[in-house]
């Protein structure tokens, strides 16, 4: 008889354990871990079978005819297909935009609604702590010293009596202690089949500081002049017109949107889309955000630190958009510092120095403003393209170890061939150093168009007989005949 293997029972135990862990600790994100680490399952399986075969061979001097049966190979092929498909899908999650699937308890049963309301005097500048683990929380500011709560609690249950009991188990906690306000919906206190969520509409004094914690459902906060701190697991976050500092920590929020903040913005954690606009203070984003990211109109430095990308920009008068594979920046103020593993980078109309280092990806640069500053662009594998204004002064060195160089700028740049690669050198005036370097890829240096920085600055009398146009290379006065 063919000796029985341990692998079968162990796989069953492992699958059971994973499902159990997923149910007990949903924040662990077992699915995410599996899409990354599944190849180690194959290695462990192979190692186990190898040990079994060797032990069997040395113990009984009889070896099984084959280490892995046909059925097992079929399973291996299936795991490989699902695993690599899942990994690909998780890398390109932004294409699919998966909505989280509703849980069984939420999908079955009927909704029973219970109103929530409350009103208390809390002062002009209270510190409000909100715990609403399931459900949306809308917060609007009013010029008053009262805090008002409206909303409803929804219990999904099969029976009215069960729902009533769940409602009693989750009393709204609303306490004021000096300037400290504490609000807790207690929705997580219900265990069992019922699913309780609370959707809140709060109006708070404009000067309030908000500290909120949620697991699912969205936070929507507008018009607060104090600080806002949000810790969110799955919840989406939308903040508008905040007077103080904003600190957001997410675990896997689908989207974080911050528009109009007078203080600093700090964003930590994991999630999907990020949209940060009109920020007066410095912006720091640390973590793995896999969706589309947009940063626009930032007056102070932007720092983005994610597993594959490190970006620092002095300020962003224009905008930066990026996802896992691309980064585009228009109208930026340097010094710009970018390190990325795999990204196609395109920067347009930037001033001050730029230092870019990419492992895999193309770089395209169009510094729009004069005078130029130091530019250092390096890619290990990818094409480089730069467009320089005709009247700019610079000292350019471009090197490719394997690839060709196209000199569309013309004199004074001179290209030479070196082995499989090429080099382009040349200087005009006493300009800053521009260094372009790729280990594998082509380099193109071309003349940039005369780009208008701004349109009409002044006009002499109606209808304008002459207009002054400001360009990167000075003002031009145009006379009308």
């Amino acid at each position: 008889m063919r000796p029985r293997s341990l692998a079968g029972p162990l796989v069953v135990i492992l699958i059971g354990g994973l499902f159990l862990a997923n149910n007990l600790w949903p924040e662990l994100s077992i699915r995410h871990l599996l899409t990354i680490y599944w190849p180690f399952l194959l290695i462990a399986w192979g190692a186990l079978r190898l040990i079994e075969v060797l032990v069997h061979a040395f113990a009984s001097r009889q070896t099984p005819s084959q280490g892995i049966s046909g059925g097992e190979w079929l399973l291996v092929v299936l795991i490989c297909l699902i695993g690599s498909g899942g990994f690909w899908a998780s890398r390109h999650a932004h294409i699919f935009k998966f909505e989280s699937l509703p849980k069984v308890a939420e999908a079955l049963g009927q909704p029973f609604d219970y109103p929530i309301s409350g009103q208390k005097t809390v002062g002009k500048k209270p510190h409000i702590v909100i715990e609403n683990l399931r459900g949306t929380t809308h917060i609007a500011a009013v010029d008053s010293d009262e805090m008002k709560i409206d909303g409803r609690k929804t219990v999904r249950s099969f029976l009215q009596s069960d729902a009533d009991q769940a409602d009693k188990q989750t009393p709204l906690q609303f306490t004021v202690d000096g300037d400290q306000v504490f609000l807790n919906t207690n929705v997580e206190k219900v265990t069992g089949d019922q699913m309780v969520r609370a959707d809140l509409e709060l109006t708070v004094p404009r000067g309030a500081d908000i500290q909120a914690h949620g697991r699912s459902g969205d936070f929507d906060i507008a018009g607060i002049s104090g600080n806002v701190t949000i810790t969110s697991d799955n919840a989406g976050v939308r903040l508008k017109d905040i007077g103080g500092d904003v600190r957001v920590t997410t675990r896997k929020s689908e989207s974080v949107r911050v528009d109009g903040v007078k203080g600093l913005v700090e964003l930590h954690g994991k999630g999907g889309d990020v949209d940060v606009e009109n920020i007066a203070g410095p912006v720091t984003v640390e973590g793995a955000y896999t969706g589309d990211q947009k940063y626009a109109k930032l007056a102070k430095p932007l720092r983005v630190q994610s597993p594959g990308t490190q970006l620092q920009v002095e300020s962003v008068p224009g905008e930066i958009t990026m996802d896992l594979s691309e980064l585009t920046g228009v109208k930026l103020t340097g010094p710009i510092h970018l390190e990325a593993r795999a990204k196609d980078v395109r920067l347009e109309d930037f001033s001050q120095s730029a230092n870019l280092s990419i492992e895999k990806g193309d770089i395209s640069l169009r510094p729009g403003r004069l005078p130029l500053a130091k530019i250092d662009a390096h890619t290990h594998s990818g094409d480089l393209q730069i467009a320089l204004p005709q009247t700019a002064s610079f000292d350019l060195t471009a090197t490719t170890a394997r690839g060709e160089i196209q000199n569309q700028f013309g004199t004074p740049l001179k290209a030479t061939t070196e082995g499989h690669g090429a080099k382009l050198r040349g200087a005009t005036g006493a300009g800053p150093a521009i260094t372009l370097d790729t280990a594998r890829g082509s380099i193109t240096v071309e003349r940039g168009e005369l780009k208008l920085k701004s349109t009409v600055v002044s006009g002499d009398g109606p209808p304008e007989k002459s207009v002054t146009i400001e360009t990167p290379e000075g003002a031009i006065k145009v006379q009308k005949e």
Binding site: L42, T63, C80, F87
Partner: protein
């Protein structure tokens, strides 16, 4: 004795190929040093090479009067 060794090599072929397969997929997801990650589409010939080496060892072990490494 040679038959035993050949049977053993035949039996470990599956597990060794499975470990190789797992390693190649792992390399496809994690970079090695400052290079990579290398996709499975690029590294799959390693599987053929490992298979070939195992078959070669089997062949060497099955030949009467030769040592295991003799065929190499």
């Amino acid at each position: 004795m040679n038959g035993n060794r050949s049977a053993l090599l035949c039996a470990i072929r599956g597990p060794v190929l499975l470990i190789t397969l797992g390693t190649l997929f792992a390399i496809a997801q994690f970079p090695v040093g400052r290079f990579g990650p290398y996709s499975f589409a690029r590294t799959w010939p390693v599987l053929l090479i490992v298979y070939g080496i195992l078959k070669l060892l089997e062949y060497a072990a099955a030949r009467p009067g030769s040592s295991a490494g003799g065929g190499l």
